[in-house]
Symmetry: C2
């Protein structure tokens, strides 16, 4: 029996792993957005806030304050490593080399430091706020989320025996494999890992990503996690997020500017990245009004990410809109990304891929077998689809706890821009979304936004007779 004395000594003396091992351990789109912010909005002051929508899980009773501070402080001590910057500067992203400006890379190297945080406790929850220049504060979103999620995971693992831990991960792996089995061999399927922010742990996301790469081949197009992409030579994948529209909306001074701000985001993005990365996220203030009132050049964008709307409905709406604007949907792409699991991924791919014959529903597609069954196939792709698989890829250990506990179930935890400084005063950031009940922001501000954007096509909107 060979004893690794160094390993044993290391295990005895080593502090628990840091959760964020590198500043690259974030969604790659945060870096794309960072350059956008750095170019166009440097110095704009914003506030990001952490919100646990799963209020019954009292995180402040689960996660120790000292450990939380230790993890957050560690992120503040991190710098981009030389090899990481070389990768950002020299790697191909979205089909393009040199997507990051040398000046931006130099700024990341010389000036980028994670700013302070404010931690307090209320109602059994950790209150975590980040205030400062947008081009620094924005980066807290993913680091904070993965820290909180993984500390909750570690608390859930505490007290389990070696054997229970072994069984937990055995069951989790078996569950993952069951999902992969259903996805393997589906013609034309494309999916990416979007699961950084709500992952079970860094190591588990890394495992899941490598499993998807090894087993799904071409169908796995990459990961949103820049660090995991970097370390495994995978494609880093990403679009952009609501914070861009929300900050620009907060900065608008008139109703007309507010209405126009949602397109101004796209105009500036396009200016920043040219023909690359032209995937819009139109649901911040309602997809229907966004598409209806969009300038014609918006229809030239490559595709649309679908978030708060039923993705079948949203995709149909996008297809009809493209046709009304004289564009061929078959050259465009939809990227559904909201809480998907295997059923949704297969169903959406069947629906948009034109696999569904008369009398069948998307839910009838359960695995590659169904896609290969000619009786179920009405040839003709309606629009290309590429699915973003998030929480239920990297944090689905539901049912795996050996004692049947739910302590490892995923949380609905977000970290969003909550306010923007305008003329020296904090102005709330607002999102309406495609679901009336999911609007965020103070009630009076939401009402003001609704007057500008309306509620066409928004789910759960009150009926006014």
């Amino acid at each position: 029996m060979i004893v690794n004395f160094a390993q044993r000594a290391h295990n005895m003396n080593y502090e628990t792993d840091y959760i964020v091992r590198s500043l690259l351990d974030t969604d790659w789109y945060k870096l794309a957005m960072l350059q956008f912010i750095w170019k166009h909005f440097r110095g704009t002051r914003v506030r990001f806030s952490l919100i646990n929508r799963s209020r019954s899980v009292r995180l402040a009773e689960i996660i120790d304050e000292a450990e939380l501070r230790r993890q957050l402080d560690h992120v503040r001590s991190l710098r981009f490593a030389r090899s990481e910057l070389v990768w950002l500067a020299g790697n191909t992203f979205a089909g393009k080399v040199g997507i990051f400006d040398p000046d931006f890379i130099a700024w990341l190297r010389d000036d980028f430091r994670m700013p302070e945080y404010t931690l307090s406790k209320a109602d059994g929850q950790w209150r975590l706020d980040f205030e400062g220049p947008w081009e620094l504060v924005t980066m807290w979103e993913i680091y904070a989320l993965s820290i909180i999620n993984e500390l909750k995971t570690r608390a859930g693992l505490k007290g389990m025996s070696d054997f229970e831990l072994d069984i937990l991960y055995a069951k989790a792996k078996a569950k993952l494999w069951g999902k992969i089995e259903r996805l393997r061999g589906v013609p034309g399927l494309k999916l990416a890992d979007f699961g950084t922010r709500r992952r079970h742990s860094f190591l588990w996301q890394d495992y899941v990503v490598r499993a998807l790469r090894d087993e799904l081949g071409e169908a796995f197009v990459g990961t949103s996690n820049a660090y995991i992409a970097f370390r495994n030579d995978l494609e880093a994948i990403g679009t952009n997020a609501h914070e861009l529209a929300m900050v620009l909306a907060a900065l608008a001074r008139t109703p007309a500017q507010l209405k126009a701000s949602q397109y101004e985001v796209l105009r500036l993005w396009q200016e920043t990245y040219g023909g690359a990365l032209l995937i819009m996220l139109p649901d911040a203030y309602g997809t229907t009004q966004f598409l209806r009132d969009a300038p014609d050049w918006v229809a030239d964008w490559t595709g649309m990410r679908i978030d708060s709307k039923n993705p079948y409905v949203a995709g149909d709406e996008y297809i009809a809109w493209l046709e009304s604007r004289g564009r061929d949907p078959r050259h465009k792409v939809v990227i559904p990304s909201d809480g998907l699991d295997v059923d949704d991924i297969l169903g959406l791919h069947a629906y948009f891929g034109g696999a569904i014959a008369d009398g069948l529903a998307p839910g009838d597609f359960k695995s590659a077998r169904d896609f290969l069954d000619p009786s179920k196939w009405t040839p003709g792709v309606r629009i290309r689809d590429s699915e973003g698989w998030g929480t239920l890829a990297t944090n689905d250990l539901r049912g795996c706890h050996p004692r049947g506990l739910a302590v490892l179930d995923p949380l609905s935890l977000v970290c969003k821009v909550s306010a923007v400084e305008v003329d020296g005063a904090w102005k709330p950031a607002v999102k309406l979304s495609d679901n009336y009940t999911k609007a965020t922001g103070p009630a009076d501000e939401i009402a003001r936004y609704r007057e500008v954007f309306g509620a066409d096509g928004v789910e759960n909107a009150p009926v006014v007779v």
Copy 2:
């Protein structure tokens, strides 16, 4: 990252693990029988033969000859280690210290060597025969079975990727845990691992045994594997096997001696072990005739192992017989051991433990919950029961292969005494069993035995009008 260079170098250069790591890596009852044979039948020449009843699995095409010989030769090079002999001599077995005679221990140390084997190929199967003194040859049974089974396992693992191996064992562990979950907390349950001979691998049996020990507590009474018991400070469990009755039957010279030989085994066993280990195995030539014609002292034995008969029927028959002989069944024990899995274990325990109220069948008992439900319980143990859990404890990876293959499914492989030398000539060994179709031996010999023993209570016996 700490690199264990020694481990890496070791892994690069090391030959595959030997399957049999110690002469103790056998069922403990082989050692109890070995002492019995050594005391009473030293020098009796026998032949053991390997038979693969799963003929569709062509083992000679799966297992490489050189590797098979390497493993068998390795067993021949093994000697009992000093610490192993100290354990055999000093440990408590079946509640008694010093069950092994110092002279027997000395013989194990000084004279015991595994004898030769004969290997040949026929019909896609390995033909493996062992001839020589019974007190040496008998030990080949378990070593040969675990070697063949594990070489088949290794062939099944070959060509699997790291990830597939990881998933295979993840699924196997999840499956094992599912079984343990159902067994945990059942009042009065007693079970032992009887799975050495058909295990998936040594390491897997060791894992399963430690899992059962950690999770089932008092309900897990021990393992049949002497080496695993020794290394983990567990109770070594065992009764005795058909080979005793079969060799004594072959040595009988008259029909009366043949009929009496099945009780002579018990008389000699009792003489050898005193009050310990008095578990009979009455089905070699039919349980019904065995009990009916048994001398009265047989009813003083502690219990009965149930093998080839439906265990519910056999237990009822034993209970009725004990009552007819004026013994209280509640002080006796039945040990069912033939191909049990969780359903059988729970069902048999409910049936003999008196847990079943009117209108319920043993199959209605699915977990501890049912045993704790008073509506299902008619108090009153009918007879104590202790289950021997074999192949489906240590080799149930059915459904776990990541590609859905059956190559790791367990085989029906046995290694039995096939002939005994009497007056310089080989006489076939015969077993009738409690199932007419499961008799083993040449047809004329079976017929001769049936004349002596009859077919009362034997399943599938032809009806003579």
